[in-house]
């Protein structure tokens, strides 16, 4: 490539800056708003206070909705793990020809609008104790987030050539249990984890499914947040900050794992050096 002249570099820098600003401004503003005393007469808030956070923590529903959201997210992760990991491993090792079918099936959740998914579940599972229960909600969130889990795990499985590792383990005397626990799982672990974290973040942030399936029967954190916008903007902002900080923390972990995974692909030393030529 020709060395770029200064003009485009500056232009490019401007574009990136605008883009970052466009994406980050609302978030920064929300942080400020949650701490502001009054902010309708000036560019910056007139004063700062923790009051909104105190109010938020003292809301009667704060603990219960946070707990519900955590239960929902963790349960979805586990169910997703139990369904997806063995399916992907077995498909890769013994049933390779089913792989395209699986890839196709995993696009379906993208093609179903969340609203339709929620309403069809509500419509079908009308019997007790399933109807409008958290159990039904978990079924829906698992389907909804399945592509994330599937993609992460299957990318991981593709990246490490699971079948040759399985064979190597077998040739060294490893049985199925040792192969799985000592060779396979540790190598697809980053994929499983990043899949679970994506599921966690998505389910934790979901408003539509919970609102339409369980509604008031099982209130989640995003539902509380939406409710509060109609009552107190600052409290809603504080709740947003809490939710966003949680999500951000999770995605940092995710990034850390993906960077760890990509490090293992760093440039190898050349063979030239080793020949000594």
């Amino acid at each position: 490539m020709k060395t770029p002249t200064k003009g485009p570099v500056f232009l490019r820098f401007l574009i990136v800056s605008l883009f970052v600003f466009y994406m980050l401004l609302p978030i920064v503003a929300t942080y400020l708003f949650s701490l502001a005393t009054r902010w309708d007469r000036s560019i910056m808030p007139e004063g700062y206070t923790w009051e909104a956070y105190q109010t938020a923590f003292n809301l009667s529903y704060f603990r219960i909705t946070l707990k519900n959201s955590l239960i929902l997210s963790i349960a979805s992760c586990l169910v997703s793990f139990i369904i997806i990991v063995p399916t992907v491993y077995l498909t890769q090792i013994n049933f390779r020809k089913f792989r395209p079918l699986l890839d196709l099936l995993m696009i379906i959740p993208f093609a179903i609008p969340t609203v339709v998914l929620a309403l069809s579940y509500v419509r079908v599972y009308t019997f007790q104790p399933i109807t409008r229960s958290p159990f039904l909600l978990i079924m829906a969130t698992v389907v909804y987030t399945m592509p994330f889990m599937y993609r992460s795990v299957s990318n991981s499985v593709d990246a490490v050539d699971i079948s040759v590792l399985t064979e190597a383990s077998q040739s060294l005397g490893g049985d199925l249990w040792n192969t799985l626990t000592k060779v396979i799982m540790p190598n697809i672990y980053p994929g499983i984890l990043s899949g679970m974290l994506l599921v966690f973040a998505t389910v934790f942030a979901d408003f539509t499914l919970a609102k339409l399936i369980t509604g008031a029967h099982f209130k989640t954190f995003p539902m509380l947040l939406v409710e509060q916008t109609q009552i107190d903007g600052n409290v809603a902002a504080a709740l947003s900050v809490i939710s966003f900080t949680l999500a951000w923390g999770i995605s940092m972990v995710l990034l850390w794992f993906s960077s760890k995974a990509s490090k293992s692909k760093k440039a190898q030393p050349s063979d030239k050096a080793y020949i000594g030529k």
Binding site: E167, S169, N178, N187, Y189, D271, Y274
Partner: protein, 349 residues
């Protein structure tokens, strides 16, 4: 008595034959190569010995025991893969220890044994590194050490050098051969590279289209190919297509090629007369008193290769490839005479 015996092994994939009626005896301590183009069934045969594929028919016997129905992890057969197949999550030392742990070796013997094989491949200083911190050649040497650690009854190598650079390949094949000779371990070596097979093996099994073409020492395979496939797949050969004419010559379109090897065929049989480039002498004058074949032609291509120069000589009907010593000088379009002995000319159907 043979140590490893493959008796009439056949295997189909989706009704396409991958290996047909494969028979082979391997003596203890020898290195046998399976050589052939991709899809010839060499890897499938290897994988049947390892236990990753089950033969449709036939028996595999190792040291007198039928191993056909033993699962791969109970066969105690070492395997080295083209893609190294080191466990990325383990250090070099743990990779080597894995097999020893699976074989329930005593705890205090595992690490010393692992270090011993690591010494063998001259990579003792990499014990605590991870596979991705090593070059391809180093990784493959670790994979070799890992396979050797369990003291396998047979060592299988599946195109172990294909993923490496040309120079590393040459160095590493020498090392594999050295270790194999020292340990006297029975080894099957799969490759599609004829130079590799010739240089490393005690015996070579040349395969093509699911069957064996020829089994022999490298010298036999190179000097006395039994089929046209073997002659052209291994090394370079000039071909003269023609029919047997008398006991000592082959008549092609324009030439009468004298040979000492035509007596195996009947008069008039369609055959190929084959001559290796290094068996051909090139003269800038018409040589006298030569008892053999002399053909006239023009220099068409000159390829300097260092030790020798490869000439393409247009003799009208075809272009003859001849290797001459590097010091001989020819120029494009020069009129030359090529000569080869009647002994140098192999005749095949």
């Amino acid at each position: 008595m043979a140590y490893l015996t493959l008796a009439d092994i056949s295997k189909n994939f989706n009704k396409n034959p991958a290996v047909e009626h494969f028979n082979l005896d391997v003596e203890k301590g020898k290195l046998v190569s399976f050589l052939g183009p991709s899809g010839c069934g060499k890897t499938t045969t290897l994988r049947m010995i390892a236990g990753f594929e089950t033969p449709d028919s036939g028996v595999i016997e190792l040291d007198g025991e039928d191993i056909s129905n033993i699962p791969p992890n109970k066969r105690n057969i070492g395997m080295v893969f083209q893609s190294y197949a080191l466990f990325p999550n383990m250090t070099v030392l743990d990779n080597i220890c894995f097999g020893l742990r699976m074989h329930k070796m005593l705890k205090n013997q595992i690490v010393p044994k692992a270090r011993e094989v690591l010494d063998l491949v001259r990579l003792s200083d990499t014990a605590n590194r991870y596979p991705n911190q090593l070059s391809g050649g180093q990784q493959q040497r670790i994979a070799l050490a890992r396979a050797l650690a369990i003291e396998p009854r047979v060592l299988l190598l599946d195109e172990p050098l294909s993923a490496l650079d040309a120079e590393v390949r040459v160095v590493l094949r020498g090392e594999i051969r050295r270790i194999q000779t020292n340990l006297k371990i029975t080894t099957i070596y799969v490759t599609h590279d004829q130079e590799e097979a010739l240089s490393i093996s005690d015996r070579v099994v040349v395969m093509n289209k699911a069957h064996i073409e020829q089994v022999g020492t490298p010298q036999e395979i190179y000097r006395e190919p039994k089929t046209k496939f073997v002659a052209t797949f291994i090394g370079t050969a000039n071909e003269f297509h023609g029919s047997v004419c008398g006991k000592d010559s082959v008549k092609s379109a324009e030439f009468l090629i004298k040979t000492n090897n035509a007596s195996l065929f009947a008069d008039g049989d369609e055959v190929f007369a084959l001559v290796r480039p290094e068996k051909i002498d090139v003269y800038s004058y018409k040589p006298e008193n030569i008892d053999g074949n002399v053909l006239e032609g023009l220099v068409d291509t000159i390829t300097f290769r260092g030790a020798e120069t490869r000439l393409g000589i247009d003799i009208g009907e075809k272009v003859i490839t001849a290797d001459v010593p590097g010091k001989d000088v020819f120029s494009y379009g020069q009129r030359v005479w090529v000569a080869f002995d009647s002994n140098a000319c192999q005749v095949l159907k």
